[in-house]
């Protein structure tokens, strides 16, 4: 366990902590601004048309996946540049 922690420390402890903090802030904002308003709309679509719901579900999770990857990637690059 100590070895693992040392490896993590040497790898990117500073940038990781900063990334985690920014990420937490982002998730909090995203959660309250977007997800809270989506649920009722999604339930309506789920009841009305399963085809639309399936397509929307795929689009939402894929877009969120790509967006979060881009966001974290950009954060890491920014932090590394500042560290240099």
């Amino acid at each position: 366990m100590r070895g693992l922690l040392n490896k993590l420390k040497t790898a990117s402890s500073g940038s990781f902590l900063a990334e985690l903090t920014l990420y937490a802030l982002f998730v909090l904002a995203y959660f309250f601004l977007v997800l809270n308003f989506l649920d009722a709309r999604l339930k309506q679509i789920f009841d009305d048309s399963k085809i639309h719901y399936a397509i929307l579900s795929m689009a939402l999770i894929a877009v969120q996946g790509v967006f979060l990857e881009m966001l974290t990637g950009a954060l890491v690059r920014l932090l590394r540049r500042k560290a240099r």
Binding site: L4, K7, V27, S57, I61, G65, T72
Partner: protein
Amino acid sequence: MDFLVSGTHIHPLYLMGIGFVVGILGGFFGVGGSFLAGPALFAAGMPMNFVVGTDLAHIVGKSIVAAKRHRALGNVDIKLGMIMVSGTIAGVEAGAQIIEYLKRRADVDVVVAVGFIFVLVSISMFIGWESWQTLKLLGKRSTRKAIAADAARLKKDASPAPRMPRYLKAGRGETEQVKQDTSVLAHVPKQIHRFRLPPMISFPVSGIEQISLWTILGVSFVGGVFSGFLGGGAGYIRMPALVYLLGVPTHVAVGTDLFEIVISASYGTLTHALKGNVDIMVALVMHTGAAIGAQIGAMLTQFYHGTRIRLAFVPLPLLGAGLLIYSLVTGHHF
């Protein structure tokens, strides 16, 4: 928080926590993490048909992140992954049809949960046994090498060669050790490669000279059935199958499995959503935690030997099985 589609009440922090943990596991072991996420959702009170579909949906978003990371590290055999997709999709559809049949005929929750427990315990026991045997084999080999090296050094003492700086030796040795992959079952892939039903294909990235297309399709179909029936990407079946049956090095198996999961889990999400088995809100909340966990997991694979990655995997399916047994026996939900 109430999730209207599945009619469940789960705290979002619980979902984010599950997502974060399975994200790390996914990035590190190349599995979707359904062996933990599935039981954790079931334990939170979600009906099993929603657990299966929702878990697949969350895996799509997470695997996009992890697969991209692994591709950057050179751990993805795209050719192998693309071929496996077709077998997996057929298997996912077969698994989803079994779920539909059980929804009409039997108690889907109990049947899927018992099946899940059996698979999780079997996988854990098998990988544990194999990794332990391989570590013992490696230990014997290193002892023999050390004795041979001592004998050679005694001979050379009269005219010692110029020494390499210690830090260089350590660095080079560490890199070699990380990239090496040994298995006590190395003879199994060799025997499987002897099955030569055409067309035969080679996979240079995975170090496979020639293998029958049907072998790959068969392995991926079985993985797909588990994925459609038990949810998730079924990496707990496919990752060991890639290593032990096809002979793919563990690091490449991890990356290729994730790449394949992106495509097969997307199909699984669509087919389950059409059948009304996906609560996408739950998946989106879980994914916010999983996205960062997947990056940490992918980073960690660079520091560990393949055998140790497999050995570390052993207790995780047992944890998932424990959660399921607890929920089934007590009827309690978190």
